[in-house]
């Protein structure tokens, strides 16, 4: 590694790197493993020096830090002076600064100092009288405003994001990764290079997570409508400087947001994205529990015939269910064994599990689990006193996504479901979406699906082979009543889940007409 490359790393670690320097550093680190090792070694040196400097300061002030390690209460060790992170409001204010026509300062860089450029203008385009400079196709843009009276303009940002403006609109250009919409309508396409591209409005920031989306801000009311055409966005809702609420919005959904950043409505337009309509979801198994055959065989009524084995049938009674018969599981050590089909279930990168339950053990009721040879790799769908949950363990960490419920009424059947697809898990009860997420709520680990379970060999309804998260093997169970369990390969959408809730015993069939 030469000195110039080392300087790039140093500048980055000193937070002094330029955009061009960052591009070069990224290319270097992406292509060279030894450069990454050097990067980490230099970062370790930096942190080590900072650590020693602080220790030095403490010693010179007569403190002995080893005596300052109090019981955890929100602040640990010597780093209790953490500064509050300020929301970057200045950048938006800076949008108001005069627009600059950027010049090609560097012949080797087609962008020079420009942030964006006008790619195209419609024939009928016109600009408001207070537009500060003449706008024509191909001109480079720095920070500032475009004030479109009518017509359309396409702006290409240096980051690769493309924004189509439809007049009347007032649109601010801030940085290669950030724009501001005062009012009007824009359509944004952010490729991978512009992931995290932001369009801010008065009431929120819309953060791209690899997507196409539209924003329409009403000129008078400043109400906004955000529609996601493809991918996912995060809405950071609320006025700048206040604590913001983050709402994820997926393809096919549209959110109406008032001028204060409060969500008025979220609509699901499932027709937009076929991947989320459930069109790809196929029924994989359907255990009705209407009969138990010889040797405890629980028949799968789907074409796949993934028959299961009931363990400890003497502790299980057939009772009247939501549709035909149901299982009443009165004691521990009872489970429906799907281990024979673990490898089939472990092929699901996206899936849906739907079940009816009654009187679940509120301390913990395992509906479904799939795990490897150890507790270190598993996924589980389970119920607790106030939650419907999907959890996963991958190696050392366990994480989960939860949907809150107001308890479980005695002797009432509930429909529960979990779907996972396109990196998002959704949890439902009685057709209502309770919660969703792309990362767990404990440590922010990305979700795992059955296909991510290493060496999957154990699968059960009503049992988790080893539920420990520490020492000791812990089996976990389901007690209560269970009926009509369906598994689909593919994530069903809200409409399909509502159908399953409203039509107990029936299966969702993509393409069929459902009421």
């Amino acid at each position: 590694m030469n000195e110039h490359e080392q300087h790039l790393i140093r500048d980055y670690l000193d937070d002094r790197i330029t955009p061009k320097g960052l591009e070069r550093l990224e290319r270097l680190l992406e292509s060279d493993g030894s450069a990454r090792a050097e990067f980490r070694a230099m970062a370790t040196l930096e942190e080590g020096l900072r650590d020693l400097a602080i220790e030095n300061t403490m010693v010179s002030h007569g403190h002995d830090m080893t005596h300052n390690l109090a019981a955890p209460s929100g602040h640990f060790g010597r780093w209790s002076h953490v500064k509050q992170f300020g929301i970057a409001t200045l950048s938006v204010v800076c949008v108001i600064v005069t627009i600059l026509l950027a010049r090609q300062a560097d012949r080797g860089d087609e962008w020079g100092t420009a942030i964006a450029r006008i790619e195209s203008l419609s024939k009928d385009v016109s600009f408001l009288p207070d537009q500060e400079f003449a706008v024509s196709e191909g001109i480079s843009l720095g920070k500032g405003w475009l004030r479109l009276e009518r017509g359309r303009a396409r702006v290409l940002f240096r980051s690769g994001a493309t924004v189509d403006l439809e007049g009347p609109a007032v649109f601010g250009i801030d940085t290669p990764m950030r724009a501001y919409l005062d009012y009007g309508k824009v359509s944004v396409h952010a490729p991978e290079t512009a992931r995290d591209f932001i369009v801010a409005t008065e009431s929120m920031e819309v953060v791209d997570l690899g997507t196409r989306f539209e924003i329409h801000v009403d000129a008078k009311s400043h109400e906004s409508k955000v529609s996601v055409i493809e991918g996912l966005v995060d809405l950071h809702l609320g006025s700048r400087g206040a604590n913001r609420i983050i709402q994820s919005l997926e393809a096919g959904c549209a959110a109406l947001v008032d001028e204060t950043g409060r969500i008025i409505e979220i609509r699901n337009n499932a027709a937009v994205d076929p991947a989320r309509t459930g069109a790809n979801a196929q029924l994989l198994a359907h255990w009705t529990f209407d009969t138990v055959g010889g040797l405890g065989v629980v028949e799968d009524s789907s074409a796949r015939q993934l028959d299961a084995i009931l363990r400890m049938p003497d502790q299980t009674r057939l009772i009247a269910g939501v549709s035909g018969k149901a299982f009443s599981i009165d004691g521990r050590d009872v489970a429906v064994d799907l281990c024979e089909h673990a490898s089939v279930l472990a092929q699901m990168s996206s899936f849906t599990l739907s079940a009816w339950v009654r009187n679940p053990d509120e301390s913990l009721a395992i509906v479904f689990s799939l795990s490897g040879e150890t507790e270190q790799h598993r996924v589980q769908f389970y119920l607790t006193r106030g939650f419907v949950r999907f959890g996963w363990q991958d190696g050392l960490y366990f994480d989960s996504i939860s949907g809150g419920v107001d308890g479980w009424n005695a002797d009432q059947w509930y429909h529960v479901a979990v779907t996972a697809g396109d990196g998002v898990v959704r949890l439902y009860r009685d057709g209502e979406l309770l919660g969703s997420g792309a990362v767990g709520s404990n440590i922010g680990a990305p979700i795992s699906t059955p296909s991510m379970v290493k060496d999957a060999s154990r699968a059960y309804l009503g049992r988790l082979h080893d539920g420990r998260q520490g020492a000791g093997t812990v089996h976990q169970w389901f007690t209560g009543q269970i009926d009509d369990v369906q598994i689909y390969s593919g994530a069903l959408n809200n409409e399909a889940i509502r159908f399953l809730h409203a039509n107990s015993g029936e299966v969702w069939s993509a393409g069929a007409l459902h009421e």
């Binding site: 937070d15 070694a41 942190e47 780093w79 960490y397 949907g403 990362v439 922010g444 998260q469 520490g470």
Partner: protein
């Protein structure tokens, strides 16, 4: 999304608590080095993430089987905090792309022991610097220190000071690398000739 509500935690026995405090005190700098090495350039961000990691590690400490695994375990927690932090907080900053963050974090998980050794050697090497150089370095890395202000206070240009600090860091880096390779070539004491 409904976040999981905090569940009342069973009290951890005092001995376990002591173990946690000791483990954190011993490995905190490795965790911070791990975070910095992922591409988090600003020290205040490193502190904030390290703080979150400490809290999560405390909440989940009873899930850790062997306290010897603490540094790697805490770094796994840190990995996801860093990625989350990058996604939410680094949107409009000049930082490495997410793919690189992920790569650096993943590769560094296997280096926690090496980094700890590196940090130990650094302390030793710093002690070998002339007193004035050591004082300069310590002043530059003091919390809240500004190189520009510090340069003015000692009557030097910021650039000159950056250059001097760079040379000192290079000296330290070489000293640390030499010490690590010397350790690596030492015969294993458990093997009798």
């Amino acid at each position: 999304m409904s976040n999981e509500l905090p569940v009342p935690k069973e009290s951890i026995p005092p001995a376990r608590h002591d173990l946690f405090v000791q483990a954190l005190a011993r490995h905190e700098r490795v965790i911070r080095a791990y975070i910095r090495g992922a591409g988090v350039s600003r020290p205040e961000d490193v502190d904030e993430i390290a703080q979150e990691v400490s809290l999560i590690a405390w909440q989940k400490f009873d899930q850790l089987d062997r306290v010897e695994d603490f540094p790697r375990w805490a770094c796994v927690i840190a990995k996801y905090r860093v990625l989350d932090f990058r996604r939410k907080r680094f949107r409009d900053r000049l930082v490495l792309n997410e793919k690189l963050f992920d790569l650096l974090l993943e590769e560094a998980l296997d280096e926690t022991k090496t980094q700890n050794a590196r940090l130990n050697k650094l302390e030793h090497c710093l002690g070998q610097l002339p007193a004035a150089s050591k004082k300069l370095l310590m002043a530059a890395y003091e919390p809240g220190a500004s190189i520009d202000e510090f340069a003015r206070s000692v009557g030097k240009s910021a650039n000159a000071l950056y250059q001097r600090l760079w040379r000192l860091r290079q000296i330290l880096r070489k000293c640390v690398d030499d010490a690590l390779s010397k350790d690596a070539t030492l015969p294993n004491p458990s093997v009798s000739p």
